[in-house]
């Protein structure tokens, strides 16, 4: 038995992390290859990107950072809006709600699976860009950090929306897409922030994808609108806000 408060806290943290990892592994086994997740997380951003990129007078390699950013957004936020309503329907979600873990661990574990999924998926367009279209990577470590922070932030966004108390995947997806789709237009992915009107630039400040995309572009080209440190800090802030709101919503909706 832990003898001090600090040891008790460490033991509790270790249990919470282990349970979160168990939840993430369970999701990986069950949901990663589900057709609706592949469509929503991989094909949807790809076709969305092609629709805007084709005909644009820019070398394909320069468009890859944007494709990586929207792939991270869509793939990271696609797992939980599918898995959680399904688990509510078949009552396996009750198993998680009744487990000796906090809502923080539940939300973190759910987000972790989306995070890992999107990192894997987003490496595909990045590898294609680097290998076939000459996409530069000036700062590999910054790119890794940018992708990880963006992925976790977007995964937490997906977990937040999945708190909506429904057993219908379509309802959560519709709700999520009303936020996800506008995000890709206001975050400098298709239209650089510098070319946006003032109001657009102001709205862009409230999108986590703005900072994720900016940091990825910086890691590839060495140019950006904001400092990479500010981008990273903003992604962390958005993640914490999403985690906090998600904790509250899961708690509220289970009352």
């Amino acid at each position: 038995m832990p003898s001090t408060e600090r040891e008790a806290w460490q033991a509790r943290l270790s249990r919470e992390i282990a349970a979160a990892w168990a939840i993430a592994r369970k999701d990986m086994r069950i949901y990663y290859l589900k057709p609706n997740i592949i469509v929503s997380g991989l094909l949807f951003p790809l076709f969305m990107f092609l629709a805007f990129a084709i005909g644009k007078n820019a070398p394909p390699g320069s468009l890859i950072p944007g494709l990586v950013a929207i792939t991270l957004l869509f793939s990271a936020s696609s797992i939980e809006p599918v898995s959680i309503p399904i688990e509510r329907r078949v009552k396996t979600f009750d198993r998680l709600l009744a487990a000796p873990i906090s809502f923080h661990a539940l939300v973190f574990g759910e987000s972790l699976s989306g995070f890992l999924y999107s990192l894997g998926i987003a490496c595909l367009p990045l590898a294609i860009g680097v290998l076939f279209f000459g996409t530069p990577v000036k700062f590999a470590l910054v790119l890794a950090i940018a992708m990880a922070l963006t992925a976790f932030c977007c995964a937490t966004l997906g977990t937040l929306f999945a708190a909506y108390p429904t057993e219908n995947v379509g309802e959560v997806m519709s709700l999520l897409n009303t936020v996800r789709l506008p995000l890709i237009f206001i975050s400098g992915v298709f239209i650089p922030l510098s070319e946006m009107p003032v109001i657009g630039r102001q709205i862009a400040l409230f999108s986590p994808l703005t900072y994720g995309n900016d940091m990825i572009v910086y890691a590839c080209n060495g140019t950006s609108q904001f400092s990479p440190l500010l981008d990273a800090a903003m992604l962390v802030v958005f993640t914490l806000i999403f985690q906090f709101v998600a904790d509250r919503l899961y708690k509220k909706f289970n009352q």
Binding site: V90, K91, R95
Partner: protein, 318 residues
């Protein structure tokens, strides 16, 4: 220390009061039945006691841990088998067991040993690496129970554990419950099978419309309604109008046909026995067997919940 302590628990959903100021306690090692008609508040009570939902007012504690303020500690010592077989169909039986154990932070060696034992007990060892997709309803139910026991709980909540199961699964699950009781595990059982509660439980609570109507040992509850005694009788042949005729006999409050037998409810069995024998002689029927029965737990349940027997079934009268 009590395993479960519930004090003035109330739960409202908008205008609906699902639980209305209920209080009870369950001692360590006790097998406690929680009976009530559909919508009486049984599942709401379990959801509050397991911390899935919170009460509107009142308190509940598990081994001294308040379920609202100290949820994680309270849950650590409990196992939960919900009414639905909530297993992961895409995982194998083994993966389901491992996942359940990991949620309760059971160490690797211990969880593997426990899972092996439980799968053997529930006769699932030869299917442990199969996806649960292909399992029968009974096998999924057994796996659900095994998952609820993988953390060696001191208290287990069993919500309708044998409802709608095949005989084999039913027998296995009842044997396991009996073994758990022998090991000193506290069992909180909800069931529609009143005979199951009668056989398994030390005490039962009967809940109706969100209020506890009675709590006591099954035999003590039966003694409270001695006026509901019955006579079970079978004749050598069936005559279509027999049931209607028996209902008209003096002293008979109600009559039911149960297979090849008739059950006559009465407050005075001796009067009814005389009347039945007279009836049999008059109709040329031979009595094959006749038994006097005290009130059953089902009779207590019906009396306390305001249900009514009609035509061999039990129906709500409100």
């Amino acid at each position: 220390m009590q395993a479960i302590e519930v004090s003035h628990l109330t739960k409202r959903f908008g205008a609906l009061t699902a639980l209305n100021d209920i209080s009870f306690s369950v001692g360590e090692g006790e097998t406690f039945g929680f009976l009530g008609p559909n919508g009486a508040g049984k599942t709401t009570t379990i959801r509050i006691l397991t911390g899935i939902t919170g009460p509107t007012s009142g308190t509940a504690s598990i081994f001294g841990h308040d379920i609202v303020r100290d949820t994680v500690a309270a849950r650590q010592s409990m196992g939960i088998v919900s009414e639905t077989s909530n297993v992961y169909d895409d995982l194998t039986a083994w993966q389901n067991m491992m996942f359940a154990a990991e949620l309760y932070h059971v160490g690797r060696a211990e969880r593997e040993k426990k899972a092996e034992e439980l799968l053997k007990t529930f006769e699932l060892t030869n299917r442990k690496d199969d996806s649960v997709h292909g399992f029968s309803k009974g096998m999924k139910r057994r796996l659900t129970l095994a998952m609820g026991l993988v953390n060696s709980p001191r208290l287990i909540f069993l919500d309708e554990p044998t409802s709608g199961l095949d005989v084999q699964s039913n027998l296995i699950i009842r044997d396991v419950i009996t073994d758990l009781v022998g090991e000193g595990v506290t069992v909180f059982l909800t069931t529609h099978n009143i005979e199951e509660a009668n056989v398994l439980c030390d005490r039962v609570a009967i809940i109706n419309k969100g209020t506890v109507a009675a709590i006591d040992a099954p035999e003590k509850l039966k003694r409270t309604i001695q006026s509901v005694q019955s006579i079970e009788i079978s004749f050598d042949r069936a005559v279509p109008e027999t049931l209607a005729d028996l209902r008209q006999l003096g002293g008979v409050n109600d009559a039911q046909k149960e297979g090849d037998k008739f059950r006559l409810y009465t407050a005075d069995p001796s009067v009814v026995i005389d009347a039945v024998m007279d009836y049999a002689r008059a109709r040329g029927l031979r009595v094959i067997s006749i038994t006097t029965l005290g009130p059953s737990l089902e009779d207590v349940f019906i009396r306390l919940t305001g249900l009514k027997r009609t035509g061999g079934g039990v129906h709500a009268i409100d």
